[in-house]
Amino acid sequence: MKRLLLLGALASGCFVSEGPRRYPSWERTTKGAQTFAECAEADAWVSKSGKEGVGIVLELRGRSSEPCLVTIASARLRVGNEDHAARRLPDPPRLRLGQRVHAYLAFGFDGDKAWNEGAEGTLVITGPTTSVTFPLKQTLPSREECDPR
């Protein structure tokens, strides 16, 4: 009977566990800019990531002493087996040496589905003659990276 009473007392404990909420997000798996066309470099990073899709900032930097027009023919994001085109392409900038121009590319897709499937992504920016590729992955920040609310 004593053992039964002790078991009852132990089973009546409280368990509370909670930390700040962490949001899965997309990020590039590589770093650095890539040569795009002959007169520019292209760099990219994720600026928005969520249920509605991903927003990516594309940075173009002139690398030619002569002014050159950088045209983006297409911007596509492959998520798992699905291909998504950017909702709007930027106007082609005319770049001088060292000049930086930023453009925003929005890709709409089901972020929940992509997270649940553990999908990986690839951003492909295509110009008239060349293209650059930026691989992406989804990560969940560690607890230390999250600000408690």
Partner: protein
Amino acid sequence: MKRCVALVVCCLSSVGCLVHHESPANAPGHVAVDEPPKDLAVRAAEPPTDPGEEVTVVSAVATPLGVGWSSFGTREARTYMPFSLELAFSRHSLSRSHQGFVASTVLDGALRPNVGMTFARVYPGSGDRAEVGPTFLELQYVGIDKDKFRSGTFAGGVATTFHRVGPQVTGCIGTLLLFDLCARGTYLFREGASVQIGFGYQGVLEWISSR
């Protein structure tokens, strides 16, 4: 007597107390993906907005101490000690994530199913004869007055012994999510009425999942 003490211990240990569990699975937040960030040169992702959470609340109530009268209102009315366990379920949407323990907030005004069983009715004397009581399904309304740290429930539904069936009503008042005093009336057709009063010991499990 030993049987009664064992039943009390089983009742209390089976419901635990307050358990708050955050699902380890996560989900992305909301973003306005068509709107560019304020500063395109910042090389970091903007934090998404909170999509909120879903919470499933399960209340377990054990009645380890009570008294009842079966065949109430007849000459054969008998006194018994009821031992019952019941579970009530509800699901709620939260607009913000990680608010801590939320049952005391979301349950106020909730209408939820409550299923339970009087698993033993012990008749004192004559060798402490025991029998299985009715199983019941009720629709329960919950009211909470957090300022005064008290709560109340009212429920109505059906009870059955699997041979007899009939209506049942239950009312409880008590301290918030801990102890309450319940009165229950049951009428089983072709068997008769029973009423019982008992102290309930309440455990609450809330399971939080991301939206």
